[in-house]
Amino acid sequence: MNAKDWKILLVDDEHEFITTLAERLELRGINARVVFDGESALEAVAAEEPQVMVLDVLMPGIKGLEVLERIKRTNPNVQVLLLTGHGSTRDGIEGMRLGAFDYMMKPLNIDTLIEKMESAIDYAAKAARSAAAGA
């Protein structure tokens, strides 16, 4: 799949961080939508289902783990990469229990992020294919 076709949603309340990240991804041919809180994230997913959502755990309003839980219920195909700022693997592990694909800690290495996005998209595609074959 061409990078430009990826549907990515970035969710973080740190404006400066997430917009700059979106810009850097764009420079690499990846277009990402950006929202700044949980509610907007739910709306954005409802409007158009992304393949990968990069989701901050600690946000004002609806917390990242709750957003993850709700999205996994409504849109199980969305692969979620959790971002934690405080480095608690507890949250990361809890996120994975709730169905997150992986988790990363800030500050990010952009190449690692892109590799994980690619893994997630590949995994989703294979899962969809095996689901289709199973059906």
Partner: protein
Amino acid sequence: MFDKLSSMLGHPLSELAGDVDAAVSPERYTTLRRKIIALMLAASLIPLSVMAVLNYVEHQNAMAREIQNPLRVLVNKTKNSFELFLAERSSTVSLIASAYTYGELADERKLARIFTVMKKEFEGFVDLGLIDEHGNQVNYVGPYELKGKNYAEQRWFQEVRVKGKYVSDVFLGFRKFPHVIIAVQHMAEDGRTWILRATLDTRQFERIIASMSLEPDADAFLVNTEGLMQTDSNYYGKVLEKLAFPMPPQTYEPTVLTMIDPLGREVYMAYAYFPEADFALVAVKPRSSALKTWYTVRGDLLFIFMAGVAAVLFAAMRVTDALIRRMKEAEERRELALREVEHSQKLSSIGRLAAGVAHEVNNPLAIINEKAGLMKDILSMQDDFPVKAKFLAQVESVLRAVERCRGITHRMLGFARRMDVSIEELDLGELISETASFLANEALHRKVEVSLDIDPHLPRIQSDRSQLQQVFLNLFNNALAAVADGGRISAAVRPVAGSGGEAVEVRVEDNGCGMSEETLTHIFEPFFTTKKGQGTGLGLSITYGIVKRLGGEIAVESKLGVGTTLTITLPKGHREAMA
């Protein structure tokens, strides 16, 4: 960082033991030791001493009785011998006085014949004389010329005239040698009276005393009621001298007294007065010779007592020392445990602070990272930027600084995690299955075979769920990173007997790239890594720290190109150790 934190606390762990020693005062133990020993000695030595004293007194009394009784019996027997001796002689004189007429007794030849028979039948007679009612000696047989001598004025003559019979004290008389006289008055049918008088040799007395067979330091003698010696004594005077000590109270029953004699010796004195004569028989035996056996026994008793005291003292000291040592160790352990708790509480606070700081720093750091990253991205695309190289160098420098800060915050967070232990009862098999499932996606993607072999009889263990998940997530992540696509990871969980009791062993094995000997030696060192920028941020050193903190053990075997096996053993019960 840890060094800095330790120094912030002001109590590095290595100094704790020293602090404990200072806290437990040695004087307190010295006093306690002294008190316990004193109590133990009192508890054992008082009954021992009482027993020893009672035994001593009882034994002494028994020994004294053993000595006094034979002495009393001997005196009684000897007194009887004396009485018999005197009774026989008086009866003989009495019989002769009655059997013969005055005329016969006045006949010299007849009296001489009678005297010869008397001497033959009874030892001790020296002479025999007939005295008329006026005190004239009308006939005499014996070694002296006493015929015609008048005794009318002598006390014995008066006494025999009144009492009819008389036994004298020992006296020298005309003969100048000690003797005793026996005089008997006879009254004929015609009213005429005469007195038959015999003299006895007191050597007979000495023979009776010699028959007592006393030891050389003992003594026996006859004394009259006025205290005049009637026989020679070895120590207290010669015959007719005054006895060297006062006469004992009068009693006819043989009696034993203890006294200090004029020679200063402590002696037993056995004596008995004669009912028929004014004599008393006295036997004296020094206590020292009598109690020779007792002194030997007393020495033995004293030795046994002293040996008992020494044994009790030795045992009390040994037992007390052992007790004090145990108490000291227990108190030190308790102190150390308290200080460890205090220390971990401090560390925990520092940990929470570190986590807060890391979190606050991480977000702006992420912004700097992205901004600098964007600058680098843009600069890379600008070929005609005049000072591109210089700018790129600056941006790279900023990014390196961000990386350093990231390292610092991650280490601080790792430290904070280690401080935060929450113990619960858990099923390790279930925990490992769940943790392995987190990696199922990536494993599936890379066609890595993950197999779990969990013993169905695993005991539930007391440990920290979250920290163990981090440990096993890290182990599985490392294994996944090590194996090639299509590789194999297996985990086996089984119960084992650990060093401190029941334990559970987890072996995570992969057929990945393995590690060199060099890498193996550094694997548990803090912040040592072979894959920078990847993974969850938990190094093996933190894994090691967590496992140790939870009281477990971790071991690694690896061969380059063959694979790696990590073995973690966790105790069934919670045994927290300082990581």
